[in-house]
């Protein structure tokens, strides 16, 4: 229930009509009728002082407010069953919205922490991939068997280390082209292969804990006339 002073200069109906007899403030107010806060039994607030009738008044003037509502400050209208007002509803809704916003923020922050951690791991792994690529390039060109064997051993060691971290090489050559794993950089026409099959891998792709961190760069077979 609101206890508002009748706005100055407004020619309104008699606000202290018989309907609003419960208001005893003696002022020219426009309180909602049938306010029963003067009834101790109907009010669940803990304050015994029920002299005031309209604690949740919308008075803007502090003086008037104290006159209207003697226990204005200590009367907790949030708990007062006879005093549910639209203002209280509004604040309650606002609190709910803020609470929901905070919950969302907390969830989002948690997700962001996890994501940041993951991104950090991925970034670290990605930094090493060009070096790993250089091994496969070197392997294609080295003719000395002993050196080649050594290079392969070093490469294997690195791959094993990456595997421990959760990195997995993507299979490509001879597999059907999969846009979720492969990136087509060129096509070829090879009769010995089926249509849309990966004929060659230009650059190896890698997955990290089921997420593709680099797609395999591949050459896809396209049968002529298809």
């Amino acid at each position: 229930m609101k206890h508002r002073l009748k706005p100055l200069g407004e020619d309104e109906k008699d606000l202290h009509s018989s309907e609003n007899s419960s208001c005893e403030c003696g002022q020219d107010c426009d309180c909602e009728p049938k306010c029963d806060c003067n009834d101790e039994n109907s009010c669940c607030c803990e304050n015994d002082n029920h002299e005031s009738k309209h604690c949740d008044c919308g008075c803007e003037d502090e003086e008037t407010k104290s006159e209207h509502c003697k226990h204005h400050t200590e009367h907790d209208h949030g708990k007062c069953c006879g005093h549910s007002s639209s203002k209280e509803e509004e604040y309650l809704n606002m609190a709910r919205v803020i609470q929901a916003d905070f919950d969302n923020f907390r969830k989002k922050s948690y997700e962001q922490i996890l994501q940041a951690r993951r991104e950090g791991e991925i970034q670290a792994i990605e930094t090493f991939l060009p070096a790993l690529d250089a091994f496969s390039e070197a392997k294609k060109m080295i003719t000395d068997e002993k050196i080649l064997q050594g290079i392969e051993m070093v490469e294997k060691k690195i791959l094993e280390a990456l595997e421990i971290l959760g990195v997995e090489k993507i299979e490509a050559v001879g597999k059907p082209f999969d846009h979720n794993l492969h990136n087509a950089i060129a096509t070829c026409n090879d009769d010995s292969l089926d249509d849309d099959v990966v004929q060659a891998e230009y650059q190896a792709g890698y997955k990290f804990k089921d997420k593709v961190i680099r797609y395999s760069q591949v050459i896809v077979n396209k049968k002529e006339g298809k």
Partner: protein, 273 residues
């Protein structure tokens, strides 16, 4: 009320942002990137692919992939994908729908309203086509804003001391280059003049770097790398990376070990740019 998203529907790449705490925040897409390639494709099974995934399969499935649809906005041009014809706004709508979806999963709520930017030189039918694309994607397009105006707004040029001024906006995209002169007066933007090159962008910078590397390698090794497809792919990647590096550093080193080989053995490419 749901949030309103701002969309840069580009020729090569698109981007979506939202106001957060008074600042425009770019929304990362499902793949974690801040931009989404403006590419749409259909697989043999009829699955619709938009963005990076469509770009990855573009070469292997070029007959069912469409790129740079923005160039066709406002025309009667139809694209045939998997035997079905689509108009330019319909294709653009597929890109917008993907951006909308990414924005919804980022914001955790439905998005129904958007502001979309278009080049200042877009005519009425091109603007209408852009609005239509938004509508098809399930977005109420509240405003169509000129790209240079959006850029000026993003830099807060309508506020501060110099509220009334003439500015030059230089927009170098992946595939197009636009220059506009704007007059800002009391919060009103007027595009005084606009020009540019519709076929010039970041990709051309990459190509210049590639050409330089091929030339230099030929001089020092007498080998033409442009005939080697795989070497060219490595050069392309290295060139793009170098270009990006040079945005923040004055010098970068392009290092491609084992780029090729001849009778004398493997050859390496190392070049300071």
């Amino acid at each position: 009320m749901g949030k309103i998203i701002g969309i840069d529907l580009g020729t090569t790449n698109s981007c979506v942002a939202v106001m957060e705490g008074g600042k425009a925040t770019v929304i990362p897409n499902a793949e974690g990137d801040r931009t989404t390639p403006s590419v749409v494709g259909f697989t043999k099974d009829g699955e619709r692919l938009v963005g990076k995934v469509a770009k990855r399969q573009a070469i292997a499935n070029h007959e069912n992939t469409v790129t740079s649809i923005k160039r066709e906005m406002g025309t009667d041009h139809k694209v045939k994908l998997n035997g079905k014809e689509y108009s330019a706004p319909e294709i653009s709508a597929m890109i917008l729908a993907k951006l909308k979806q990414d924005a919804e999963s980022y914001l955790g709520s439905k998005v129904t309203q958007a502001v979309i930017t278009v080049p200042a030189y877009f005519n009425d039918s091109q603007r209408q086509a852009t609005k239509d694309a938004g509508r098809i994607a399930g977005l109420e397009v509240l405003r169509i804003i000129n790209e240079p105006t959006a850029a000026a707004l993003a830099y807060g040029l309508d506020k501060g001391e110099n509220k009334n001024q003439k500015i030059l906006v230089y927009d170098l995209g992946s595939g197009t280059f636009d220059v506009s002169i704007l007059e800002i007066g009391d919060g009103v933007f007027e595009v005084l003049s606009t020009n540019g090159n519709t076929r010039l962008g970041g990709d051309d910078f990459d190509q210049r770097i590639i050409n330089l590397l091929v030339e230099e390698f030929k001089k020092s090794n007498d080998i033409d790398l442009s005939k080697d497809k795989l070497a060219m792919q490595r050069l392309k990647e290295a060139a793009e990376k170098a270009k990006i590096d040079l945005s923040s550093t004055p010098k970068t080193t392009i290092s491609l070990p084992f780029i090729t080989a001849d009778a004398s053995g493997p050859k390496h490419l190392e070049y300071d740019l």
